[in-house]
C-alpha cells in the first residue's frame, strides 16, 4: 500500500509570513552569525579545557575554560531559541481537572460503597485486620529505632573525671604545679583519654592559672582552686561549643559560637549571651607528686541543657 491511499491527514500549516512565526531578532542574518560565533567560542574554550586538563593545570584554569565553554554554548543555544525560532504567542486549551458528574459518582461509589460496604459488613474482621496492621507498624518501628543507638540512660550526666585523675594536656603530658605561668591557659583531659572521642568531646576542661594563692570562686569551693589554678568544663552550657577564648585582662572566658561570657574568678557565672548556666567547675588538688589532679568528678552535668540533667547539690 502506498501512502497516497491513506485518508489524508488534515495538517495545519502556518504561512511563512504569519507574524506568529517570525523570529524576534530584527536582523536574523546578523543574529545567526553572532550566535554561531558565540557557540564556536564555546567550543574553543572547551578545547582549552581539554588541554588544561591534559596538563593538569591549576583549578581556576580548568574551571575558567570549562565554565566559559559551557556558558557560551548555553548562551548560543538559548539565543537561538529566543531570537531565531517562532515566538508565537501560541495557545493551548486547559482541560479541567475535575471529571464529569457521572465519573465522579461512579468513582465515589466504588470507593465508599463497594469498599466501605464490604468492610462494614464484617466489622470485627476489619477491626482485627486494622489492629494487625498497627501491631506490625509498632513492632517494626520500635526495634528499628532501638537498633540505631544505645539508650541515653545516665550517660549525659557523667564524665570520666574521678577522684585522683591526673590532668594532662593534648599531648598527654601531666601538668605540674609550676608548669603554667600566671595568666596561662591550657585545655586538659583525664590522663589516658586525651586522644579519645569522649575525652575530647565530653571531658575537655579548661585550666587557667589566675594567681599563685588558692582561688575561691564560690562559697563551698574553698579547696577547689589550689595554687591559683581553676578548672572549668570547656563545654559551653549553651550549645556545647568549646569555650575557647580567654580574655586575660577581664578574666573572662568567651564562647566563640554565640559570645557567651563567663567570669573566671566568680564560678564561671555567665554575664553575657545565651548561655543559661555557669560552666561546672572541676575541683582540683596538687598530689604529693606535684601533679594537678581532680578531687572528683563535676558536681553536675556538663554542656547544654537536657530533660533529665542532674543539677548541682
Amino acid at each position: 500500500m502506498s501512502s497516497e491511499e491513506r485518508t489524508p491527514v488534515a495538517f495545519s500549516v502556518a504561512k511563512a509570513d504569519d507574524p506568529h512565526m517570525q523570529p524576534k531578532a530584527q536582523n536574523p542574518k546578523l543574529a545567526e552569525t553572532l550566535i554561531g560565533l558565540v557557540m564556536l567560542a564555546g567550543i574553543g574554550s572547551l578545547i582549552g579545557f581539554a588541554v588544561a586538563y591534559g596538563m593538569n593545570a591549576q583549578s581556576w584554569i580548568m574551571g575558567g575554560t570549562l565554565g566559559a565553554g559551557v556558558l557560551f554554548l548555553g548562551f548560543g543555544i538559548t539565543a537561538w531559541g529566543k531570537y531565531l525560532m517562532p515566538q508565537g504567542p501560541f495557545v493551548e486549551e486547559r482541560h479541567t481537572m475535575r471529571g464529569n458528574d457521572d465519573e465522579r459518582e461512579r468513582f465515589k461509589a466504588a470507593v465508599v460503597q463497594r469498599g466501605g460496604g464490604i468492610l462494614g459488613r464484617r466489622k470485627l474482621l476489619a477491626m482485627i485486620a486494622g489492629a494487625g496492621m498497627s501491631a506490625f507498624a509498632v513492632v517494626l518501628v520500635i526495634p528499628v529505632f532501638r537498633s540505631f543507638g544505645p539508650l541515653p540512660g545516665n550517660t549525659l550526666n557523667q564524665t570520666s573525671w574521678k577522684q585522683g585523675t591526673i590532668l594532662v594536656d593534648s599531648t598527654g603530658r601531666p601538668i605540674r604545679v609550676n608548669d603554667i605561668a600566671v595568666g596561662g591557659v591550657v585545655t586538659v583531659y583525664p590522663k589516658g583519654l586525651e586522644n579519645t572521642d569522649n575525652g575530647q568531646a565530653v571531658d575537655q576542661t579548661i585550666l587557667i592559672r589566675v594567681g599563685t594563692e588558692a582561688v575561691v570562686t564560690q562559697q563551698g569551693r574553698e579547696s577547689w582552686g589550689p595554687n591559683g589554678y581553676v578548672a572549668y568544663s570547656k563545654l559551653c552550657t549553651h550549645l556545647g561549643c568549646p569555650v575557647g577564648l580567654y580574655e586575660q585582662q577581664l578574666e573572662l572566658l568567651v564562647c566563640p559560637c554565640h559570645q557567651s561570657m563567663f567570669t573566671v574568678t566568680n564560678g564561671a557565672e555567665p554575664i553575657f549571651g545565651p548561655a543559661p548556666r555557669p560552666l561546672p567547675q572541676l575541683p582540683l588538688f596538687v598530689g604529693s607528686d606535684g601533679l594537678l589532679r581532680a578531687q572528683g568528678g563535676y558536681d553536675q552535668a556538663v554542656g547544654p541543657g537536657f530533660w533529665n540533667r542532674e543539677t548541682s547539690g
Partner: protein
C-alpha cells in the same frame, strides 16, 4: 488487521518517522507525545527560577557522584601521607584525609568539590526565590496547593541535605555545626536525648556520625528529593502552567511558546548556562577551604564559625534568644535552645507550608485559579510574605552580632539588644509599608510602565497641538492574538521558488510537498 500494521510500518517522515511509528506500536506515545511537544510555556522571566533550581539539582547529583568515588566516609584515624604538605604526618580522620586528597591529588577534584558546594548554594537560593514568585503571584491557590507543599518540603530537605554535606569533610568548622545540631535535638523536652542518641548512634561524637550522615546525604535524601522533584514536575505538566493576565489569556487556556523546539532549545541552553556559571564560580571563587580549617577536634574551635548562609538565620535565633532555661518538676527545660532552635523554625515553616489553607480560610475562595495575581493587587498577602522575609533576614543578620560589633566599634550588648528589637519591629514595619505601597501602586494607573513622550507641534497660525509620540522601537510590544501550534511551518524557500501557496490539507508529509 495485518494490512493495517503493514501500512503503519511503511512510514512517512523518513527513518525518524519510522522509529517513532515503531515506538508508538509498542508504547502508544503518539497522542500524549504530540501534546507534550505542544505544551505551552508562558513567557515570563520569573518562570525560569524553578528551572535554575532544577538544573543546579542535576549538577549536584553529577558532581556528588564524582565526589563519592574518592571520599571515604569513616572517622577512623589515619596518619596523613598525601600531597598537602602542611598536613603530612598528622593524625586525621579518614573522611578528612580523603577530602583533602580529593582536593589536592585528584585531577579536577578541587573544581568538583567547589562546584558541588556552589551548586548547593545556588540550588537553595533558587528554591527560595522560586517559592517567593509562587507565593507573591498566588500560584499556590487551588488547584496547585499540593505542588506548593511539595516544593516547600523540597526546600526544607535541601537545607537538611546541605547541612549534612557540609558536615562530611570532618573539618573543624563542620564539626562545630554537628555539635550544635546534637545539642538542639537534645533540648527537646522528655525525648530529646533519646532522639539524639538514636540519630547519632550514641553520645556525641562517636564513630557513627560520618558513615551515617554520608548514607543519608548521598542516598536517602537525594532519593526522596528526586521522587519529589519528579512528582512536582508531573503535577506541573498535568495541571499546566499558570500565567499572568494578558491579551487572549483566560482561565481556560495557556499562552506562550511551544515546548518543541523553542522551549526545549531555550531550556537546554539555560541548563548549560547555569552549569557554566556554577563552574566559573567554582573555578574563581573559593568556597569551604577545608585545608585551612584543619581537621576536627572536639575540644578545638575555629573563630571563623559561620555556618553556610541557609543555616545562618537559625544560628541568629539561637544567638539572640534570652538565656531562659527553666528547671521545674525536677527536670530541665532548655527553652533557650528549644524555642529558637526548634519552635521558631517549626512555626515559620508551618506558616509557610500552611499558607494556602490559611489564606483560603480567610478569603473563603474555593475557585480554581489559573491566572496569576499581580502582587500589588493582593496587598495583605504581599505584605505578609514581605514580613516573613524581613523576619528571616533580620534573624540572618543577627547571626553576625560579633562581626557587626567589631566593624562598627559598638558593644556586643548594644548590638544584641538592637537585634532583639529589630527582629520584632522590622517585620511589622515591613508589613505596613508593603501594604501601603501596594495600595498606592494600585491607585496609580500604568505604574511600572514607561510613559510615552508627547510631541508638541506649532501650527503656522501659532496654535500648539500636543499628541502622543510614536512608540520608541521595542517600547510598545504589540500582543498578537495567540494561535494553536501548527503542524508545519511553510518553508519560505519553497514558497519563493514555486510562487504558489499550498493547500493546507492536501498532503501527508513534507517530502510530498517539495516534490
Amino acid at each position: 488487521m495485518a494490512e493495517k500494521t503493514k501500512q503503519q510500518a511503511k512510514s512517512s517522515f523518513g527513518p525518524v518517522g519510522k522509529a517513532l511509528d515503531e515506538l508508538d506500536d509498542r508504547l502508544g506515545i503518539a497522542k500524549g507525545g504530540r501534546s507534550l511537544l505542544d505544551k505551552i510555556f508562558p513567557d515570563h522571566w520569573s518562570f525560569m527560577l524553578g528551572e535554575v533550581a532544577l538544573y543546579s539539582f542535576v549538577i549536584l547529583i553529577g558532581t556528588g557522584i564524582f565526589l563519592t568515588l574518592f571520599y571515604v566516609p569513616s572517622s577512623t584515624v589515619v596518619v596523613y601521607h598525601g600531597s598537602y604538605l602542611p598536613l603530612v604526618g598528622q593524625k586525621v580522620s579518614q573522611a578528612y584525609a580523603t577530602s583533602i586528597d580529593l582536593t589536592f591529588s585528584v585531577r579536577c577534584g578541587l573544581l568538583m568539590r567547589q562546584m558541588h558546594h556552589w551548586a548547593c548554594d545556588i540550588f537553595l537560593a533558587a528554591m527560595v526565590v522560586h517559592m517567593a514568585r509562587v507565593f507573591f503571584t498566588g500560584a499556590f491557590r487551588k488547584p496547585r496547593e499540593l505542588n506548593y507543599v511539595l516544593g516547600s518540603t523540597l526546600l526544607i530537605l535541601g537545607i537538611v541535605e546541605g547541612f549534612l554535606g557540609y558536615s562530611l569533610p570532618d573539618d573543624l568548622v563542620s564539626g562545630t555545626g554537628i555539635r550544635i545540631a546534637f545539642s538542639i535535638i537534645e533540648s527537646i523536652p522528655v525525648i530529646g536525648s533519646y532522639i539524639a542518641f538514636f540519630v547519632f548512634g550514641g553520645n556525641y561524637p562517636g564513630p557513627q556520625i560520618i558513615p551515617r550522615f554520608f548514607i543519608i546525604h548521598v542516598l536517602l535524601i537525594p532519593l526522596i528529593m528526586l521522587g519529589m522533584v519528579t512528582a512536582h514536575l508531573f503535577l506541573l505538566v498535568h495541571q499546566k502552567h499558570t500565567q499572568f493576565p494578558g491579551k487572549g489569556r483566560t482561565e481556560t487556556n495557556v499562552v506562550g511558546t511551544a515546548m518543541f523546539p523553542v522551549f526545549a532549545a531555550k531550556a537546554t541552553g539555560f541548563l548549560f548556562m547555569v552549569g557554566g556559571v556554577i563552574t566559573l564560580l567554582a573555578g574563581f571563587a573559593q568556597i569551604n577551604p577545608i585545608w585551612q580549617f584543619g581537621p576536627y577536634d572536639a575540644s578545638k574551635i575555629s573563630y571563623a564559625v559561620q555556618p553556610d548562609w541557609y543555616m545562618g538565620w537559625l544560628d541568629g535565633a539561637l544567638r539572640i534568644w534570652p538565656a531562659w532555661e527553666w528547671t521545674g518538676f525536677g527536670y530541665t527545660w532548655p527553652l533557650e535552645i528549644f524555642i529558637p532552635g526548634v519552635v521558631v523554625p517549626g512555626l515559620i515553616f508551618a506558616v509557610v507550608q500552611g499558607w494556602p489553607v490559611l489564606e483560603r480560610r480567610y478569603t473563603k475562595d474555593n475557585e480554581i485559579h489559573n491566572l496569576l495575581d499581580l502582587p500589588r493587587n493582593r496587598p495583605k498577602r504581599t505584605a505578609a510574605g514581605a514580613a516573613v522575609f524581613a523576619l528571616v533576614t533580620m534573624m540572618f543578620i543577627a547571626s553576625s552580632t560579633d562581626v557587626i560589633a567589631n566593624y562598627f566599634h559598638i558593644t556586643l550588648e548594644a548590638v544584641l539588644w538592637s537585634m532583639r528589637i529589630l527582629v520584632v519591629v522590622v517585620p511589622i514595619i515591613t508589613f505596613f509599608l508593603t501594604h501601603k505601597i501596594c495600595q498606592e501602586l494600585q491607585a496609580s494607573q500604568g505604574a511600572g510602565k514607561r510613559k510615552r513622550a508627547n510631541v508638541v507641534t506649532r501650527t503656522p497660525d501659532g496654535e500648539y497641538l500636543s499628541a502622543p509620540a510614536e512608540p520608541r522601537p521595542g517600547d510598545e510590544h504589540v500582543d498578537l492574538e495567540p494561535e494553536p501550534v501548527p503542524d508545519f511551518l511553510e518553508d519560505p524557500v519553497v514558497v519563493r521558488e514555486r510562487k504558489e501557496l499550498l493547500s493546507p490539507v492536501s498532503f501527508t508529509g513534507v517530502r510530498n510537498v517539495v516534490r
